[in-house]
């Protein structure tokens, strides 16, 4: 599903350039659930950017579902994000002025799905995360756990091959975290590949494989 081949990435900081990803090799099979761990500054956010086609890289190759993601223009990148990827964020990132249903339907807006149809599909996904009754509520009226469920429904609606979760439980209490991880595991079991970036060992422990990142290198990939 995902193959990284000697990925190198630099950030320019003033006159210097910072080598943030050093020869990262990574292979994730379809249907795998992997966690990426690492201290802050280890390059895990950068790696997530690259995996999420949100940022480019200087050397190496990134294959996503058999397609080389390299030197993409913004249009193409947006297209692949929309087609291949679903994002789940630590701070949920729901649009505050849209209802739960509208938030869930948003990726379909960019797939040019007609309004009526995408609202119907959004309802199906809200039902799947157990929030059908909250469809017309604004994010501000929901709890953290509920918001993250809405975000997960939004990540799923585009039928992605890969879900990238960036600290999905970082803003939640332990019980809610548990429920969210249950939901993610359940989704994974339907066959979707999942990469979870986290610094929590509990969360990492619930994935099939843990990749440790240190100073821009993959440290242990058993």
């Amino acid at each position: 599903m995902v193959r990284l081949d000697k990925i190198n990435k630099y950030y320019r900081v003033g006159a210097h350039s910072l080598h943030v990803l050093r020869d990262v090799d990574l292979e994730i099979e379809p249907g795998e659930m992997v966690s990426i761990m690492g201290a802050s500054g280890s390059g895990k956010s950068t790696l997530l950017n690259v995996l999420g086609i949100l940022d480019g890289y200087e050397r190496g190759e990134y294959w996503l579902d058999g397609t080389l993601m390299r030197d993409l223009n913004e249009r193409k990148a947006a297209h692949y994000r929309n087609k291949f990827l679903g994002f789940v964020f630590q701070s949920f990132n729901l649009l505050p002025f849209k209802t739960a249903a509208e938030n869930v339907a948003l990726p379909l807006y960019y797939q040019k799905v007609p309004r009526r149809k995408r609202n119907r599909i959004a309802m199906q996904y809200l039902e799947r995360v157990g929030l059908l009754d909250w469809a017309e509520h604004l994010p501000s009226e929901m709890s953290g756990g509920q918001k993250q469920r809405v975000a997960i429904a939004r990540a799923l609606i585009g039928k992605p091959r890969l879900i990238l979760a960036d600290e999905p439980t970082g803003a939640l209490d332990s019980e809610t975290s548990h429920q969210i991880m249950d939901l993610l595991t359940e989704i994974h079991q339907t066959g979707i590949t999942m990469i979870v970036v986290t610094h929590e060992h509990d969360v990492a422990a619930r994935t099939q494989r843990v990749i440790h990142l240190k100073d821009g290198r993959v440290e242990a990939d058993p």
């Binding site: 956010s45 997530l48 950017n49 999420g52 949100l54 940022d55 913004e74 249009r75 947006a78 297209h79 994000r81 929309n82 087609k83 994002f87 964020f89 701070s91 990132n93 729901l94 649009l95 505050p96 002025f97 849209k98 509208e102 948003l106 990726p107 807006y109 960019y110 797939q111 007609p114 309004r115 939004r154 585009g158 960036d166």
Partner: protein
């Protein structure tokens, strides 16, 4: 543009009502001010033009005065009076297009004061002017029936009269045909040969015109003329000034006064006066433009400012949309469409409000010599609105372009 896009725009605009309102206010205000200023300028201009409508603007009027410079053995303070000799001299002078004298009947004012005009048992006092045929051009008299005075009337000292519409309405009844009927002016009978109207208003209509020669004879004027008026064709200010000087020189010769004596013959040069007014209005127009453009610029700055803040505030939203598959162009299009939508609506509101204010002013304020008919140059107002819409689009475009380049992860981590 699809309904979907409209709904998306409306939902985002509805989210921050205060900001939406302020943006619209700055645009609407700019257009409103431009429209109102424009209309006010037009009103001033119309009001003054109204004053010139009455008479030929390319004319020179001359009045006899008193000498102030000793000349040819005469003392100062000698009172001068024009006579038919002055008229003849001017008629032969080059550059004089239409020429008329005016002789007012005694018993009224000096320049043709109010005189009793009677028909049967109806009588009233009207202003009676005895003039030459060319007076028609000087006063811009418009004939509605019959004819104006002609040279044969003057040559034959005919007792004929041309009357204004209100005079006819009073003496003969509204719309009646007075042609060939007789009226009595100061006890002398005159036959009506024409009815006229004039754009100068009621005051210019309550008049009776008689042949100057007849009046001079009938009312003991000898060959006196109170006032001489002539047009100068399309002469410019300097040329008209030269023609006035030439006329003074002719009279100085005829009456033996110093040609340099400014008081002996007083001159009103309408060419110069009209030119002066035109210059003033050019300046007012320029002033209105400067203020109007200033307001528009202020509106543009306001819109740019608010759009910039709006886009900055929405960095996170833009990040989310990008992560969900929005292309940079779709982000830019969304923001520009919002900006255009806002400014277009606001511009229209300002336009309508401005026109409404002008209509109200026009309705409340009676037309007077200084202000009338404050119309708006609608083309200009629409142009200004389009400029503001384009400015709004640009004001949205540049920050949106910057925002669309933002890395979503950075935007999303921005708390």
């Amino acid at each position: 543009m699809s309904l979907d896009r409209w709904l998306e725009i409306l939902s985002t605009l509805g989210r921050n009502r205060l900001r939406t309102f302020l943006t619209m206010l700055s645009v609407a205000w700019g257009i409103l001010m431009l429209v109102v200023l424009q209309g006010a300028g037009q009103g001033l201009s119309h009001g003054t033009q109204e004053q010139f409508k009455d008479d030929a603007v390319n004319s020179i009027w001359m009045f006899a005065g008193r000498t102030t410079i000793p000349y040819g053995g005469y003392p100062v303070g000698r009172r001068l009076t024009f006579d038919n000799g002055d008229y003849d001299a001017l008629r032969d002078a080059p550059g004089v297009e239409h020429l008329t004298g005016r002789y007012g009947i005694r018993g009224g004012g000096f320049f043709g004061g109010e005189v009793i005009v009677r028909r049967g048992d109806k009588s009233s006092s009207f202003d009676v002017r005895s003039v030459h045929p060319d007076h028609l051009y000087l006063e811009k008299t418009i004939m509605v029936a019959g004819r104006f005075l002609n040279q044969r009337d003057l040559d034959g000292h005919r007792k004929v009269a041309v009357i204004g519409m209100p005079v006819r309405d009073f003496l003969f009844g509204p719309g009646a045909d007075p042609m060939g009927q007789w009226i009595e002016v100061n006890g002398v009978a005159f036959q009506v040969v024409g009815v006229f109207t004039d754009e100068g208003g009621e005051g210019e209509l309550r008049k009776v015109y008689l042949p100057i020669t007849t009046a001079q004879r009938a009312f003991g004027g000898n060959d006196r003329i109170n006032m001489l008026m002539f047009t100068v064709g399309d002469a410019d200010v300097a040329e008209s000034q030269a023609l006035a000087d030439q006329a003074i020189a002719l009279m100085a010769e005829h009456h033996d006064f110093a040609p340099a004596d400014k008081q002996a013959v007083r001159v009103r040069n309408n060419v110069e006066a009209f030119d002066r007014f035109n210059k003033i209005f050019k300046i007012i127009e320029l002033f209105v433009w400067v203020i109007g453009l200033g307001t528009i610029v202020a509106g543009i700055v306001g819109v740019s400012n608010i759009m910039m803040i709006a886009v900055k505030e929405r960095t996170k939203e833009i990040g989310v949309r990008k992560a969900l598959g929005a292309t940079p162009s779709s982000i830019i299009t969304m923001i520009v469409e919002e900006a255009v939508f806002l400014t277009a609506i606001a511009g229209y509101v300002g336009l309508v409000a401005g026109v409404a204010i002008l209509q109200l002013v026009a309705a409340v304020l009676p037309a007077n010599d200084f202000f009338s008919d404050p119309t708006v140059d609608l083309g200009l107002a629409i142009k200004a609105t389009v400029i503001l819409i384009v400015a709004g689009a640009l004001a949205g475009y540049f920050p949106a372009r910057a925002a669309a380049r933002v890395n979503p992860i950075v935007a999303l981590r921005d708390q």
